[in-house]
């Protein structure tokens, strides 16, 4: 961890306040279905300051910011009370015309989903220049010149040709840069960023955060950063407002919040955040389960390759290479983490092992049975020993079946038990994952995200599997719930001796649960080895970049500047053993 990155952009003195929000209350719906989204929220934003508003989903953090610009849906939302003083005027009292004039000019906003925030049928140039023409009265040519200038500022190559491109021709990261260029073009006093990097890969997130910090310095803009990621808060924020169920829990300078949080909620929030590098210190209690070390192998994968062809009968292009000579072993009771960014092929590999996807070539042995040779019927039988948990708790349960029925399903299929014995096993499994017997009769839509994931786990345990492929099981959950589910998985591995193929993009979570880690990039494993070695002593440039990009939930230890990564020159050859059981692509 290269320390010593010089701190720039920290405001020396707290100059006068640019935005003062007093007693803001917002509610949705009326009568019985009314819900109080924000209650009496009060906070200040100083000039040149980055204020982070942090909270879990449903805390009202983005609703309160949207209200400032009058962007809440007119029909449903109601600003019950509150004032928002900006440049001597109350934003909440302005007419639609006045606030429209101010939006995009004095206060700009960027959003979470870059893929859908740009109009797919209009060119980038048109969408960049229209704001300038409206607010600054520029001519089309002047606006285009300004737009090119901004594109270069957000570090995108050949800016001029970008104007004629359409959004679908750019990647997620590039589109977010365009959104930032669009917002900063009119040199706004305040930039509101609603979870700007949540949807991006961690390396791209790091670049965007660096860009935002530099732009804030150059344009002397104050930023309201809305996020749920404590790492991003620690890295970017000068001051923090913590929100929970519509209320401000506490606010204050970022160091004070992280080191000495006043409220219990903040304490529990910080405690639940998985911290990368904890493994560097004394081994934490949770991840010391030793896999069977008698050399027996549960899963043996060799040279797995898979190419996805696109298009109809006549497509000439050869499509995307999702898996390229993937090979690894997995011992009973062991957890191997497959980590990498989107498009790295990690979840494809997970599904290929279970033959939910057929690989083009390669060999898969599970409990020394060649899975690829099994006919349909015997494959279905073999599925008893290998189960799967999914990322999206809301969609991975059949909405038409009650919880009990869902958990019973695999057991019924494999004839594990029937009649009253089946009932008892189901109740026992539900209790095992922390639910009660009477949950049996309820339907999926009546459970929270965390409870649903528990049902999925109970379902997977039913037929007594040896291997569980967990595809990003906690990434859709709030941080507090995530911690409980991870603990449950580790405890089950301990008591049932389960082997996990754990797929994730979150290095901190990987560090907490895995015995061994395999880092994947564009379909290949570039580094694989024990967690300790790979995370603390990465030998491959991509692993190093990946680790460096992870924002640290500790304001004192600032992340170093991102090492420049030359993807083309990166070694991608077959793995060589550089240390005991520690392999790196040559």
């Amino acid at each position: 961890m290269t320390a010593g990155h010089t701190m720039s952009g920290r405001p020396t003195a707290v100059s006068d306040c640019i935005l003062r929000v007093e007693n803001l209350s917002i509610s949705f719906g009326r009568g019985r279905s009314k819900n109080q989204a924000v209650q009496k929220l009060t906070y200040r934003l100083a000039a040149g300051e980055t204020l982070a508003i942090v909270g879990e989903s449903g805390s009202g953090k983005s609703v309160s910011s949207m209200a400032l610009l009058g962007l809440l849906p007119a029909g449903q939302a109601l600003v019950e009370s509150g004032e928002a003083w900006f440049e001597g005027r109350d934003l909440l009292a302005m007419s639609e015309a006045e606030i429209t004039h101010l939006r995009g000019d004095r206060i700009a906003m960027i959003f979470q989903e870059p893929m859908t925030s740009l109009n797919p049928v209009l060119t980038i140039g048109r969408q960049l220049t229209e704001g300038l023409v409206v607010h600054k009265g520029m001519s089309q040519r002047e606006a285009e010149a300004r737009a090119i200038e901004m594109i270069e500022l957000v570090r995108l190559s050949d800016a001029a040709s970008r104007l004629r491109q359409y959004p679908h021709e750019l990647s997620g990261g590039m589109r977010q840069r365009i959104m930032i260029a669009m917002a900063m073009a009119s040199d706004p006093a305040i930039l509101i960023a609603d979870e700007p990097t949540t949807a991006l890969d961690v390396t791209v997130q790091a670049q965007i955060l660096d860009l935002m910090r530099d732009l804030k310095r150059d344009f002397d803009t104050s930023i309201i950063l809305i996020t749920h990621d404590m790492g991003v808060v620690a890295e970017m924020a000068d001051r923090v407002v913590v929100m929970h169920r519509g209320r401000k829990v506490e606010d204050g300078p970022v160091e004070r919040i992280f080191v000495a949080p006043a409220e219990d909620y903040t304490k529990s929030l910080l405690a639940a955040v998985p911290r990368l590098g904890r493994a560097a210190g004394p081994p934490a209690v949770t991840s010391d389960i030793e896999p069977a070390d008698d050399g027996s192998v549960l899963v043996r994968a060799r040279d797995l390759s898979k190419r996805f062809r696109s298009g109809g009968w006549f497509s000439r292009d050869e499509g995307v290479l999702a898996m390229d000579e993937i090979g690894f072993d997995l011992a009973p009771g062991e957890t191997l983490a497959l980590v990498g960014e989107s498009g790295s092929g990690k979840s494809t590999t997970g599904r290929a092992i279970l033959r939910l996807i057929e690989v083009d070539e390669g060999e898969i042995l599970i409990g020394n049975r060649d899975v690829r040779k099994l006919g349909q019927a015997s494959l279905r039988g073999a599925r008893r020993t290998m189960q799967m948990i999914f990322q999206d708790p809301f969609a991975s349960l059949n909405p038409r079946m009650s919880a009990g029925r869902l958990v019973m399903e695999p057991m019924v299929i494999h004839g594990v038990a029937s009649g009253s014995e089946l009932e008892d096993r189901t109740v026992e499994l539900l209790r095992r994952v922390g639910l009660e017997a009477d949950h049996m009769r309820r339907f999926p839509h009546e459970f929270s995200g965390g409870q649903r994931q528990r049902i999925c786990i109970a379902r997977a345990l039913g037929p007594g599997p040896k291997l569980i492929v967990a595809d990003e099981p906690t990434s859709a959950l709030d941080v507090s719930v995530q911690a409980q589910v991870l603990d449950l998985l580790l405890e089950l591995q301990q008591s049932l001796g389960l082997a996990f193929l754990f797929i994730s993009h979150d290095m901190a979570v990987v560090e907490e649960v895995s015995h061994r880690v395999a880092v994947m990039h564009q379909g290949r494993i570039v580094e694989m080895g024990p967690r300790q070695a790979v995370l603390n002593n990465p030998r491959h440039s991509y692993t190093r970049t990946l680790l460096a990009a992870v924002p640290m939930p500790d304001p004192t230890r600032r992340r170093g500047a991102l090492p420049t990564l030359d993807v083309a020159a990166m070694p991608r050859g077959p793995l060589a053993e550089v240390a005991p059981n520690h392999w790196v692509a040559a």
Binding site: T100, H101, R103, G104, D105, T116, V121, E130, V134, H168
Partner: protein, 306 residues
């Protein structure tokens, strides 16, 4: 884009090819002897009927028949109609244009009224305008267009005498076009409303508002322009409904299009004419949908530059 065009053109050709097969099989699906039923009108002797059966190639195995039918098709010979003992192609060429004229005029009316009503209802979602427009639309969808035709005929032609009851000139096009146009305007309004509501919920509309663009620019440059893509894709299906509706409406107003011809052909079980009619009808719809598909590609850059 090129690949999209090729795909669409190929799909259209395959559709027409399958149509020719279906049309050839049609005559064999007839219970009893189709030739005898068709030529009963001319009290032909059994020998004459046998001669016709051979001329039509009905005694040949299916695939040879199909070959015969297609080879004759390319020479423009769709066989001779029983009713007027005239080449089917000539009849269709004279009777199709009025139907196309009626269908296109009605489509224009439906688009003009339907789109504006749907767009307005979506924009003013939840207000009294939206509810009013949608009540009108659900009524429009429920009123049978042949009854609407009779009502318009009763008021405008018989009571007020403003418009002719029937005829083949321009003034007698107004009532049938209005009947078909209004009926389908209601359908279009409902479809446009749900399409535009989807668009208004999109993130890029919120971005446009967040950029402080004036309401009209948000509505027309962003929302409507993006809404055109799904709406245009509906036009293909809508035109097919128009042509279907025209068949019935023509019989209300004695509009001398192919609709009346088709009904007479069914009554007289004039199979060569029915076969020709189905082939023509399907081909017209396939070609129009192809044109609309290509227009759709031009409108949507995601396809134009894929």
């Amino acid at each position: 884009m090129i690949r999209y065009i090729i795909q669409r053109v190929l799909a259209a050709l395959v559709t027409i090819w399958i149509t020719t097969i279906a049309v050839t099989l049609l005559i064999h699906a007839v219970p009893g002897d189709p030739v005898r039923i068709m030529y009963a009108k001319f009290q032909s002797t059994p020998e004459q009927i046998e001669a016709v059966r051979i001329a039509l190639g009905l005694d040949q195995p299916i695939y040879i028949q199909y070959g015969l039918y297609v080879s004759r098709l390319f020479q423009g010979d769709l066989g001779r109609s029983i009713v007027g003992d005239q080449p089917v192609l000539d009849i269709l060429l004279t009777r199709f244009p009025p139907t196309l004229l009626l269908a296109t005029t009605s489509l224009v009316i439906a688009v003009v009224i339907g789109l504006s009503l749907g767009f307005l209802a979506a924009y003013k979602r939840g207000t009294v305008i939206d509810v009013g427009a949608m009540v009108l639309a659900v009524l429009g969808v429920s009123i049978p267009h042949f009854w609407l035709g009779l009502l318009l005929l009763f008021f405008f032609a018989l009571q007020l005498g403003w418009l002719p009851v029937a005829g083949s000139d321009l003034r007698s096009l107004i009532l049938p076009a209005l009947t078909l146009g209004l009926a389908n305007a209601a359908v279009l309004a409902r479809l446009t409303r749900s399409a535009m509501i989807d668009i208004f919920d999109q993130d890029f509309v919120r971005t446009a508002r967040a950029k402080g663009l004036p309401k009209t620019m948000v509505l027309y440059r962003h929302a409507l322009r993006a809404g055109l893509v799904p709406i245009v894709s509906m036009m293909g299906l809508q035109f097919a409904y128009m042509m279907g509706g025209a068949i019935v409406v023509e019989n209300v107003f004695a509009w001398n299009g192919v609709g009346r011809l088709a009904i007479e052909a069914v009554f007289a079980r004039d199979y060569p004419l029915i076969q020709g009619f189905i082939l023509f009808f399907a081909t017209v719809i396939v070609l129009v949908s192809l044109v609309i598909d290509l227009l759709y590609a031009v409108l949507d850059p995601r396809i134009r530059y894929s």
